[in-house]
């Protein structure tokens, strides 16, 4: 069964450093997403991406965040200058279309900012 894969599974970084989280969405999917889950809290939407541009973003997704699809398979989330409060589990997801289909989630990357 096709799946969304994320690397690394765990990333530890120092405050102020840049991190790139990587995702390989399901190959025939067209919409890509990043969500995050701070420990003990709900899963929050960050951004959606379609046709090589951001289609929607939340208020969390400020200027320190960016997304990119550098090639035909990878989808990345970059956090430019990490803060302690960026520590969370980051989930990548993809869907083949916009509305009715369930999102397929990756295993997540646990980001720890120290």
């Amino acid at each position: 069964e096709p799946e969304v894969t994320q690397t690394p599974s765990h990333q530890v970084t120092q405050m102020g450093q840049e991190v790139i989280l990587r995702c390989v969405p399901i190959s025939n999917h067209l919409y890509f997403y990043w969500y995050r889950q701070i420990l003990g809290q709900k899963v929050e939407f960050l951004v959606s991406f379609y046709n090589n541009e951001i289609s929607e973003k939340s208020e969390i997704f400020d200027d320190q965040f960016s997304v990119e699809r550098p090639d035909g398979s990878n989808f990345t989330l970059k956090i430019r200058s990490t803060k302690l409060e960026d520590s969370a589990m980051y989930f990548c997801a993809s869907t083949p279309d916009r509305g009715r289909t369930e999102a397929f989630f990756g295993q997540g990357t646990r980001l720890t900012v120290v």
Binding site: Y33, V43, S48, F105
Partner: protein, 113 residues
């Protein structure tokens, strides 16, 4: 704005007994409703969805959920719980025409042998 409420933090149930996890939602348009399950150190795994049609939807692992428009609810149910059903369950809603999923805070289900 779309939102989801899962009123209980933890649901304890004895193995073999019926399991219910509650969810209510708020959207301004037509809702697309989803249930996901999360096992420890794992991603979100899709269980079932309501898009349109029959209010009772059946999903993976014997789970089902009933869409109730008047009560704006989408409770998850399983007639006979297994110990292996112990996990974190998330209800989510997407509004028609919208990309983002709004999640509830999740319910920890503990099935007692």
């Amino acid at each position: 704005a779309q939102s989801v409420a899962q009123p209980e933090d933890q649901v304890n149930v004895a193995e073999g007994n019926p399991l219910t996890v509650k969810c209510t939602y708020s959207v301004s348009g037509n809702p697309y409703l989803f249930w996901y399950v999360q096992y420890p150190n794992r991603g979100l795994q899709f269980l079932l969805k309501y898009i349109t049609g029959d209010n009772l939807v059946k999903g993976s692992y014997g789970f089902e959920a009933e869409f109730n428009k008047s009560q704006t609810s989408f409770h998850l149910k399983k007639p006979s719980a297994l110990v292996s059903d112990s996990a974190l369950y998330f209800c989510a809603v997407r509004e028609d025409g919208n990309n983002r999923l709004a999640f509830g805070k999740g319910n920890q289900v503990v099935v007692i042998p």
